[in-house]
Symmetry: C2
Subunit: 194 residues, 2 copies
């Protein structure tokens, strides 16, 4: 069976439109659904994505109209914190903000990796396929006002700008999410053609 | 129905014996069961305890021999980190150790609270009753070799010793777990007598 009708788990219609545009395949139909899914504690973003997508599959089965669910997870691993906060980044932002996160980190060791994990859960057989995009960079004092969360403090390697200083078009060329979305797109293309 | 047969969710038989001794009620029967239960991401230890205990109730129902399940959660909230790591403490220890945790914290603002949350899930009606013990103190350089995890870096208010410098008997008089266990004991006594 070809995967053509995909529901993105998000409360944000804009995010679905962005995904749709970035994937850019007219044969696909996208929907979105806001679900309050539990996220498990782990430093392994793949494990968190698996659990969440299994839950999403169970909830979405009732709707019966989608071929697959798509969930999106983010992880930010700081070298100076031995990989923390990882997928727990949202709690760090919640309590410390992006500025507080920077304060935890020594200037001398400001390397970091950011990861976008897309988990595609196939309704029919409950198989979960994951697509991961990781970008290396460094954590710096906040610059720029685009984006949200930690965007102003992450500067990807090879760039003089933080995510927060890049417009959407520029960021969408090089971001961790763009890398993961390209992998997802390639997979979707190959199965549509098969 | 009186709660008399309680199963503690732990992989550690020693922990069950410790609980049994601290509660000290001969009318109760204790068992223990190692279950790999998902813990959800949250900074609210009560929410984590609720979710985990609901899962435990579902798994333990098959056994059919217990009146209640008991789960145990810990939270360590550092003032300097605006309440982090809270219930996420195990991931901080995993990546940074107790010494690394101390390094994140300014000497001038080393206050912290530690909480033990015991969640008692009643098999019959799936009600969950929670007992919380919180102790204030400060985070200091590691001292002492008793206990485990963050015990050597937590010094309760009113003491000159860290948990790591206290023997079990001394710690069991004043610890966050002792406070929670006394509340649980009072509840168990009152329902046994009713």
């Amino acid at each position: 069976m070809k995967i053509q009708r995909i529901v993105l788990i998000t409360g944000n219609a804009g995010k679905m439109e962005e995904f749709k545009e970035l994937i850019g395949l007219d044969q696909l139909q996208f929907g979105y659904q806001s679900l309050n899914l539990p996220e498990i504690q782990s430093l392994d973003v793949r494990e968190i994505g698996q659990f969440k997508t299994r839950e999403a599959l169970t909830k979405i089965e009732e709707l019966g109209v989608f071929d697959a669910v798509l969930t999106d997870d983010t992880s930010l691993c700081a070298d100076a914190l031995n990989g923390l906060p990882g997928p727990l980044i949202k709690w760090f932002l919640d309590r410390l903000g992006a500025k507080g996160l920077i304060k935890l980190i020594d200037d001398k060791e400001n390397g970091a990796s950011v990861t976008c994990l897309l988990s595609l859960g196939i309704t029919k057989n409950r198989e979960i396929i994951q697509f991961e995009g990781t970008v290396r960079g460094k954590l710096v004092s906040p610059k720029g006002s685009y984006g949200f969360g930690w965007d102003p403090v992450f500067m990807p390697d090879g760039s003089e700008l933080t995510y927060g200083e890049m417009g959407a078009a520029e960021k969408n060329k090089i971001s961790h999410r763009a890398v993961a979305l390209r992998k997802l797109r390639d997979w979707l293309v190959s199965q549509l053609g098969s």
